[in-house]
């Protein structure tokens, strides 16, 4: 079965350092227009369908804000 990937970002812990944006080879991520409680514009998932599950964003995130899950095709949430 073909898999898609769900990228979950803890927007309240994100400090908008931008490291994940730099290391995502697929431009899946972008910056939110809403500030979080700490006053940062957190990173959010812009193009989930482009994610290949390489994990670079999560690997590089210094705040452990990013989680990635493999989701069966029919269950994946298309936003």
């Amino acid at each position: 079965m073909k898999k898609r990937f769900e990228v979950l970002i803890n927007g309240e812990h994100c400090k908008a350092c931008g490291v994940c944006l730099e290391f995502c080879p697929q431009d899946v991520l972008g910056v939110s227009e809403q500030r979080n409680k700490a006053g940062f514009y957190p990173v959010e998932v812009k193009k989930p369908e482009e994610c290949t599950g390489c994990g670079h964003c999560a690997l590089m995130c210094p705040d452990a804000c990013i989680e990635i899950y493999r989701v069966p095709m029919e269950e994946s949430v298309q936003s």
Binding site: E67, I68, Y69, V71
Partner: protein
């Protein structure tokens, strides 16, 4: 099968927040690789299934609150004394896995004696040494590991060896110490180096589990705030400057 915080099964997780971390938001500056180091240690604790028998020794510096982040028992040590405190814990409770988390001010300045002698005794402990060439918490002073020419608040014209000596090479210094069983220098500036850092951290803890002796991983880290750089510029500066002074590699491996 246990569920992750997001409600998925572990099997579906390509990457999840490691169980070795608490839910507390780390206080580090944006882009600071202290967080990356914490994350890697926490992953290793989870993978080796030692969270429930580990004591973290937090020291003094930016990582002073490490005891809030690691999901383990923890002891807060005085500045530089982490390895002595860890010695006491390990000797009194040998079944416990003990690690210290120390910055370059803590380990290489005020605590140099404690780390060298703990290594000398071959204490079965693990030291995580964060080298970012500057005192962070106290506002950017020169560290023993500050590069020649590097500007800090106490070397405003750049570190001058005539005035304040040369950078301290902890791994090279410890590599001749017979009590050391595993010793590596890593960095965390791209996926490849992060993966390599994790391998060394895992090996260091495995060294302790095996009872082989003292283990230390030096992590060349960034300090965007006191380097006055963006997080990505700081990573580039590690590549261009820090790694020239501090070459990466495994210095001692009892197992290889």
């Amino acid at each position: 099968m246990s569920e992750t915080r997001a409600g998925h099964t572990e099997a579906e997780a390509l990457y999840h927040r490691p169980a070795g971390l608490t839910d507390v938001q780390m206080r580090y500056c944006p882009g600071c690789t202290h967080g990356t180091a914490h994350k890697l240690i926490a992953e290793v604790l989870e993978e080796l299934d030692i969270i429930e028998r580990t004591v973290a020794v937090a020291t003094v510096g930016c990582s002073v609150y490490a005891y809030e982040y690691f999901n383990t028992d923890a002891v807060q040590a005085a500045h530089g004394r982490g390895p002595a405190v860890a010695t006491g814990i390990k000797r009194a409770s040998p079944e416990t896995i003990v690690f210290t988390y120390q910055g370059d001010g803590d380990l290489a300045a005020i605590g140099l004696s404690e780390v060298i002698h703990s290594a000398q005794r071959g204490e079965k402990m693990t030291v995580m040494f964060i080298n970012n060439a500057v005192f962070g918490m106290t506002r950017g002073q020169m560290a023993p590991t500050t590069l020649v020419g590097q500007k800090t608040t106490t070397t405003p014209l750049g570190r001058d060896p005539e005035m304040s000596g040369m950078p301290m090479m902890i791994c090279e210094m410890l590599s001749t110490n017979p009590g050391v069983a595993y010793l590596a220098r890593e960095t965390m500036i791209d996926p490849k180096t992060v993966r390599s850092a994790k391998r060394s951290i895992r090996k260091a803890f495995q060294t302790q589990i095996d009872g082989a002796g003292f283990s230390l991983v030096e992590l060349i880290s960034t300090c965007p705030a006191w380097w006055h750089k963006t997080p990505l510029e700081a990573m580039q500066w590690v590549r261009d400057e820090m790694l020239v002074q501090y070459p990466l590699g495994v210095f001692v491996d009892y197992d290889g």
